[in-house]
Symmetry: C2
Subunit: 215 residues, 2 copies
């Protein structure tokens, strides 16, 4: 069954080495997650999509989960970039915070596959130091933004970390609930676009829900 003399490369080149299999596998995986969910993603199917044998992925990732972790790290990077871009041309601190929130939500809905992988429990339970670093970077970006607002006198003093935590939680929770469709039948959220939901959540957090104390 040996092939004899394929002198010039056929239109369908079947090179032994792939070129950038690692990248191809990540891309294929992302697509599969998008269409079949994280659980539905399969190493073998990714290999097929890359025209490669079912064991080739193991030269690039020690395990299925590690491929996902790699995707998660990548996603964190993209998210952080998106957040940076979202506030790049805005000076007003309040507006910056609102934009940050909206950008978080928009990333979640525009890059659902990445986002789902980033926070899938499978990945979370096998977190790698690199992933932790990437996640911490995102939190620190929030923190830094809040700190700037504090120094500008926009927000309360001495609670930067707490406010950053509350902010991230609110955003993250809203994004999760939206992605999971949990809000689809609620009166508030059903007819609103994700970005409006994000704005709403952020506004609530900024001004608070209590009546202002009357002194």
């Amino acid at each position: 069954m040996k092939k004899i003399a394929p002198p010039a490369a056929a239109p369908l080149k079947v090179a032994y080495h792939h070129g950038d299999l690692r990248r191809s596998l990540l891309d294929a995986a992302l697509g599969l997650v998008a269409s079949h969910g994280v659980q539905g993603f399969t190493l073998r199917e990714a290999a097929r999509a890359a025209n490669v044998s079912h064991n080739a992925p193991y030269r690039h990732f020690p395990t299925r989960t590690h491929l996902l972790i790699e995707l998660a790290i990548e996603g964190q990077g993209h998210l952080l970039s998106a957040l940076r871009v979202a506030v790049a041309r805005t000076a007003d601190h309040r507006e910056r915070i609102v934009r940050l929130g909206i950008a978080y939500m928009e990333y979640a809905v525009a890059h659902t596959a990445h986002f789902r992988v980033m926070f899938s429990s499978d990945v979370a339970l096998n977190r790698t130091a690199d992933l932790t670093d990437a996640q911490n970077a995102t939190f620190q970006f929030f923190e830094q933004e809040i700190r700037a607002s504090e120094q500008a006198g926009l927000i309360r003093k001495n609670a930067v970390q707490e406010h950053a935590l509350a902010g991230w939680s609110a955003l993250h929770g809203a994004a999760m609930l939206v992605l999971d469709g949990v809000l689809d039948e609620t009166a508030v959220a059903a007819r609103r676009k994700p970005r409006e939901i994000a704005r709403l959540v952020i506004e609530s957090l900024l001004t608070g829900i209590l009546n202002p104390p009357k002194n």
Copy 2:
């Protein structure tokens, strides 16, 4: 291999009919999720834990995912009960809201398996009408609580749904981030117990993070 005359039930009864296999499977599944994660849960292993053949589960659940959905619905019920209990003996509206938040978080960490199943993407993507109802019930409980606070004059008017949404998002996000260990290395959250994190988030949301406007 016929057993002859087992007059009184032997200690190891090996009846053909199980009695309450459905319940046993749900319990086994919960344990498996707790130890191996949602992805690690296996129908066949649950069947083994219940001393039953690998196909017996199919007499009670059409599919692996449906078993998980059943667990999710069950969990939503427990959560709602826990929330009710948490505020049962508290009259002060502000305190009620704080307790609600803490209860949500505590449920998440005390019943991690249930919680993870409830919001696993596998379940979310195959949501059933019953599950949707159960989730809506939880949201409505939040809403109702906020409405009561509004009528008592505690919180701003005309934004009950928005505030309920913001509250749920913040709580849910905080719970998720805690469960996923995303906060483990952050200065704010690393040394705090989950309930303190929840309190902190709720307090931020109640009073807001902006400086009070000086008129």
